[in-house]
């Protein structure tokens, strides 16, 4: 018998393999077909239920961008730093000097920087609050450290709901209680952060090395001591890294919450775009863009210092 001729079992294997490949190919094609149909029909759906239609509005896409270009580019800097503009004719489009926030004497903080500071403070405060609450929650929810199963399930459910709850509703509810402003946004973003960080944290805790915990159990440590000395030293770098990633996301979220009434730079940007103030819009977008890039870079640098390259991936 030569080597090229196959045993009957060999033939069976080849036909089975061919059949499997063909089947997989059919499944892949069907899957792609469904995806394509879904894509085209959802495009049509989105187009039909929109106020303006895609192809009808497309030629005008750049018309709308034209108002964005300010008459004088120097107005962008004036808007950014609240310097009176020669174009100011009493309207709101060029009243840059009006928004100055005087600190002492002639020294002032430009309005947009103040608003940006508000947004950043919202993000930082909510990240801190979220971190502080998410850490104990995550130890209750982690399988290897949870004191009791019912408590673990409750903690997990609570975090799931906090994560899924739409932030604007919490913001709206607290805006009614606390008056409209940044504090409602802080509460909304904080609650969401507890849920989002808590989930990431308990996954980190569940992946922790349990040898140190075995050692602490052996000498009779209680729950707090086990968490403090067995888990925290292992998980803290990852916790901090995730918290910094959350900070990046929270800067964006607090801008959006701001746009729907939470104060800060988002609200100003929304107003400026909806009224078509070219110079102001460009100034705000520039400021926001630079800030987001700066926060991202800072957080990436700090994370790299904390946990090295391996955690240097984007995570929502």
């Amino acid at each position: 018998m030569t080597t090229t001729e196959m045993q009957p079992t060999g033939h069976e294997i080849v036909t089975a393999w061919d059949r499997m490949v063909a089947k997989r190919r059919v499944y892949t094609l069907i899957g792609l077909g469904i995806l394509l149909v879904a894509l085209i029909s959802s495009m049509r759906f989105a187009d039909e239920s929109n106020a303006g239609h895609f192809f009808e509005r497309l030629p005008h896409l750049f018309d709308f961008l034209s108002w964005l270009i300010p008459k004088e580019w120097s107005d962008v800097w004036r808007a950014l730093f609240d310097i009176a503009s020669p174009n100011d004719k009493g309207g709101e489009e060029y009243n840059f000097a009006k928004g100055r926030v005087y600190v002492s004497g002639g020294f002032y903080i430009p309005e947009y920087f103040e608003l940006m500071l508000t947004t950043i403070n919202i993000a930082i405060v909510s990240t801190i609050v979220g971190f502080v609450f998410a850490v104990p929650m995550s130890f209750l929810a982690a399988r290897n450290f949870s004191p009791s199963t019912p408590l673990r399930l409750v903690a997990k459910r609570v975090m799931e709901v906090l994560r899924a709850f739409p932030e604007i509703v919490i913001a709206g509810l607290f805006a009614a209680v606390l008056s409209i402003g940044p504090v409602a946004a802080i509460i909304a973003v904080s609650l969401h952060t507890i849920g989002a960080l808590g989930k990431l944290f308990y996954e980190v805790v569940e992946n922790a090395d349990m040898k140190s915990d075995d050692g602490l159990r052996a000498v009779g440590a209680n729950w707090f001591e086990r968490v403090r000395f067995a888990a925290v030293p292992q998980v803290l770098p990852n916790f901090t890294s995730y918290a910094l990633l959350r900070l990046e996301i929270n800067v964006r979220t607090s801008t959006i919450i701001g746009a729907v009434g939470g104060g800060g730079i988002g609200e100003e940007l929304k107003l400026s775009i909806s009224r078509g103030f070219g110079a102001k819009t460009v100034a705000l977008v520039l400021l926001l863009f630079v800030t987001i890039v700066a926060v991202d870079q800072f957080s990436a640098w700090l994370r790299r210092k904390l946990v090295g390259e391996h955690a240097f991936l984007l995570q929502h």
Binding site: L39, M43, F45, A46, G52, E160, F165, L173, V177, T255
Partner: protein
Amino acid sequence: MTLSMIHESRRHEIEERYPHYFKRSFRQRFGFALVVAGTLLYGVYAMWFFDLPRLVAEAQWQRFGIYLTQWVSYDVQPELRLKDDGSIETRYPRFSVLGDDPHPDWIVTNPEGGLTVLVSGTSRSVAVSRGQAVVNAYGQSVTVDLSGENPRVIGQAPPWMTVYDDNVLASFGFSGDASISSDRVRVRKRFLGWANFVFDTHSPFFGKPAGEVISLIASGPRLDPAQSNLSLAWDNIWYNNAWQHGDVWTKLFQTIVMAFLGTLLGALVAFPLAFFAARNITPNRFLNQVLKRMFDFLRSVDMLIWALFLTRAFGPGPLAGSGAIFLTETGTLGKLYSEGLENIDDKPREGIKSTGASTALVHRYGVMPQIVPVMVSQTLYQWESNVRGATIIGAVGAGGIGLKLWEAMRTNSNWANVGYMVLLILLVVFIFDAASNALRHRLMGTNKASMRH
């Protein structure tokens, strides 16, 4: 001699052997305490910055309870008017949830004339007759004299009753309240649940028990000659005035479509670009950097800014929302994909290259099998996160349920509708969470560790 006593020379030896435990740097010793102190200081600054003490002092916490109660309950506010001729007329506000001609069984006509409103059974009730109102609650019975110009409480007013000059307010807790003036008694009776959730007051099926509605739909005579009872019932539910089921569900679907369209289009654009951005696939430093900076730019301009611009360009609606998600997602997925590509194992590629395969084949068999599960997993994750994101984006005008939610909330009177929409959003988010988790688990096999990126 106890165990803790160690000879001095031995101690020095241990100290020298483990210097990093015994002589720790300043940062190691006080770093954590400094971080905590700094955070606390920042907290104080933030409290001052946001003017927190004043806000908390001025907060209207009772509203919180009221609004949350309104999420899951509704009230009916009959007004009993005391006419000069001694008769009592019951009136309901316009658009009352009871319909145009209500005769609720909790307003009882007394045999000696006058009406009794049973706010919570017989234990909390208001009996109104000529010249007086008797309020029964918490085991007490208080008579309010209505014969004068202003109402007058006879005897001591209990703590649940507030007496104003021209008005007496009796509060029954969750079940409602009664506001008593000399010429009218306004009662608020609160019911748990959502009013007219299925049929509104204009529907011919309104107020009918479920059994009767089913038998009408199944075999009843046509209520509307133009269409069958089933389609009439469906129409009535879909166009329910109070709940706007049709509109809410369409908007919810829009939100899902926005997330789907934006993420999928983003993935389709990011996929080929990522191959050019990954430095191990395309050894062209300039092209790599240009594409990576472009991804960063798309991501950093932020979904909100894209949404606001596109809302202006295309008008409010899901097109603007999908566009915003598409632009942001091209950036995010491009970054994730190219990072994934840079982390692949080079051995399969080398193996396939060594057989003399073309570049396309090397990518198809050397790269794709490694990267596709990772990419699909990341895309699913982003889709799931965008369903939530699309809700918020919607509120700035980019379409979907977000805008509807925001409008319902802004009036501060429609919290039950807000509750309904929140419930739907939570459901959708949970379903997507579970579906994308299950899909990702299947894709990545049982290897859970690699699932997390």
